[in-house]
């Protein structure tokens, strides 16, 4: 198991390097030049040249890449071209705000998804199955910015129970009252993971239930709860794979949901950086998000191997 973990960690290095190259290359391909946006059109050519040199945009691409990579590896993400603030600070704050939504949304979505999926599979073909599956499909198909607005209309405007938008706190919520602003965005964001996980869990549990060993479990005289434990553990690796991906998407933030709830998360930050051609912010955001994506999938790989010994090789 330990060698498996070590090998997966080593595998992550070339993946991250590849990601960094891809990110750097793609950002370079974006049309438009940050210096043009920063300086007025009538700026003298000397000033443009001076600014270009200051940001290192005059050097050959591979030199730019390696110096950027070197600085990034040392934790120096540079300064925003637009605001002049350190990228690291903006990014930490935005990612933190997204985390505060993503973690509870993932927990809620995964718990509901596993519950609905298992329920549907164990009652295959009955109205319970149909109701649970319909609920899951609805969750994936609803445009969630629309659902967010409906939630706001019901719970904020009509009932006045929950805040319509804004975080109302910094970092982590300090009290129950502050946490109320989390409810609507978290519920909205949990819909897609819930639906996707429910579909996969239902299919996987059905597959497991058709395996011969389930007959053995019943022939052993185990009670339903014990049989369920066996089935879920067998279904877990497939479900975890999907959960890892879904959590990765949540970390990227949802620009639509963040806009509806005026939430300063990573989706917001990235969107803003793209419109401003703020190259350092874009590159840093994408690379850090990609890093988390790789990290989450690494953890999923390890968890799968811990659950299913046949994966450890």
């Amino acid at each position: 198991m330990l060698t498996f973990v070590a090998r997966r960690l080593l595998h992550a290095i070339p993946i991250l390097l590849g990601v960094s190259m891809l990110v750097f290359g793609l950002v370079q391909m974006i049309p438009g030049n940050p210096i043009d946006l920063l300086l007025p059109p009538e700026a003298p050519p000397e000033l443009i040249a001076q600014m270009t040199a200051a940001y290192g945009f005059d050097k050959p691409l591979h030199i730019q890449y390696f110096s950027w990579l070197g600085r990034t590896l040392q934790g120096d993400l540079g300064y925003s071209i637009f605001t002049g603030a350190p990228v690291a600070r903006e990014l930490m704050s935005a990612l933190g705000n997204t985390f505060v939504l993503a973690v509870p949304a993932a927990l809620l979505g995964f718990a509901l998804g596993v519950g609905l999926g298992a329920l549907a599979a164990f009652h295959q073909g009955t109205w319970i199955d149909k109701a649970a599956s319909a609920f899951a499909i609805t969750g994936v198909s609803l445009p969630h910015y629309w659902f967010a607005i409906v939630l706001v209309v019901i719970f904020s405007v009509t009932l006045n129970w929950l805040p319509a938008q804004g975080m109302g706190f910094e970092g982590l919520p300090g009290s129950f009252a502050e946490a109320r602003s989390l409810v609507l965005p978290v519920v909205t964001l949990s819909l897609i993971p819930m639906g996707v996980v429910a579909r996969v869990v239902r299919a996987t549990v059905l597959e497991v239930l058709n395996q011969e060993f389930v007959a053995t479990l019943r022939a052993k005289g185990l009670i339903d709860r014990e049989v369920l434990l066996h089935v879920l553990k067998n279904a877990a690796p497939a479900a975890l794979a999907v959960m890892g991906l879904q959590f990765g998407y949540l970390l990227g933030g949802s620009i639509l949901v963040e806009t509806v709830f005026n939430w300063p998360g990573s989706g917001n930050l990235l969107n803003l950086a793209i419109f401003r051609r703020d190259v350092p912010v874009m590159q840093a955001t994408i690379v850090v998000l990609a890093f988390f994506f790789v990290l989450v999938n690494l953890l999923v790989d390890i968890a799968q191997a811990a659950i299913d010994p046949r994966i450890r090789r």
């Binding site: 011969e212 060993f213 007959a215 052993k220 005289g221 185990l222 009670i223 014990e226 067998n234």
Partner: protein
């Protein structure tokens, strides 16, 4: 908690059992009137081709059929009416008084739990002991089925064992709560021939030591002869012949039994061409009105095709269903 049977009361008694799947004309009739009784310490071999209903019959004995199966008749196992037992009582019967061994030990074990854990959880469920005591008992069971270095094997996952070893572990699992009835569903079919013999000898020894009643389902007549006291030959969901082992080999009465015996390989007929039974087993969704074997039987006449034969006594404890009993000899 064991239901000790009085000397002559059968451990397993099946009366006119019918099992079908689906309704109306398209229903698949897997078992069509099986009756037999099995005493303590007795081994009944159930011999039949694939699709003869033998596995369905065996699973019925443990109430393991899918929910859409329809059953008729009575099944009494260790004094319990299996078909009408409430789920909880049925669950207590399974794995404790009545245990089952499956054909393919690779798929019959849960791949993501250790062998030790899978044996121990049965013991913990039925005998209400703690994990340590259950693990200790699991180790004794692995020793009982002659698995070397049993203690270390407890921590093995099913895929870490060889086929023969897995089937030994499966037997250990079945014996976990000292069952009085053992149901074996082709337990040697998936194994190499040399391993088959070891497993058969092991089963035979344990059966005698623990005085279990065993129903042993197989399609291999050699295996059936090796392990059984009596054999029921199953065709299209019926016992077409049931006899003590010597009578079945030497004085079989049914043409199907004769065909089965003639189509096995053995040394005395070296160089001769093997006989086969022409045709294929009948479609269980569209059984003929008469004898189900008639379309493949060279003795069949109009009566065979019109009227299903009733069981007739051929000798002591020897029964066959055929209109032309002497033709099988």
């Amino acid at each position: 908690m064991k239901h000790e049977a009085i000397i002559d009361e059968p451990m397993v008694e099946v009366r006119d059992l019918h099992v079908s799947f689906g309704k109306g004309a398209g229903a698949v009739r897997a078992v069509n009137g099986v009756s037999f009784a099995l005493r303590k310490g007795e081994v009944l071999g159930v011999l039949g081709e694939s699709g003869s209903g033998k596995s369905v019959m065996l699973r019925t004995l443990l109430g393991l059929l899918p929910a859409h199966a329809r059953t008729e008749g009575t099944v009494t196992v260790a004094g319990q009416p299996v078909l009408s037992l409430p789920p909880d009582a049925l669950r207590r019967l399974r794995g404790s008084t009545v245990a089952m061994i499956f054909q393919e030990p690779m798929t019959a074990f849960d791949p993501v739990f250790t062998i030790g854990r899978q044996i121990a959880e049965t013991i913990m469920r039925h005998d209400r002991v703690g994990r340590d005591a259950a693990m200790k008992r699991a180790q004794e069971l692995l020793e009982l089925v002659a698995i070397p270095s049993a203690k270390g094997r407890l921590a093995n996952y099913p895929h870490e064992m060889s086929g023969g070893m897995r089937q030994r572990a499966m037997i250990a699992l079945a014996l976990a709560c000292r069952p009085s009835v053992l149901l074996a569903d082709e337990p040697t079919t998936a194994l190499d021939v040399t391993v088959q013999i070891q497993i058969l000898l092991l089963l035979r020894r344990l059966q005698a030591e623990l005085d279990m009643a065993v129903v042993f389902v197989t399609h291999d007549i050699g295996v059936a002869v090796e392990i059984s006291d009596r054999i029921g030959v199953m065709y299209a969901g019926r016992f077409v012949e049931e006899a003590p082992i010597e009578a079945l080999v030497d004085a079989h009465a049914h043409p199907y039994t004769r065909g089965l015996l003639a189509s096995t390989v053995h040394g005395q007929r070296k160089g001769e061409r093997l006989e086969t039974i022409p045709g294929a087993p009948p479609n269980l969704a569209a059984l003929p009105p008469g004898c189900a074997f008639a379309p493949r039987c060279r003795h069949a006449d109009d009566r065979c095709r019109a009227e299903a034969p009733e069981p007739r006594v051929v000798g002591p404890s020897h029964v066959a269903r055929c209109h032309h009993l002497s033709a099988g000899r």
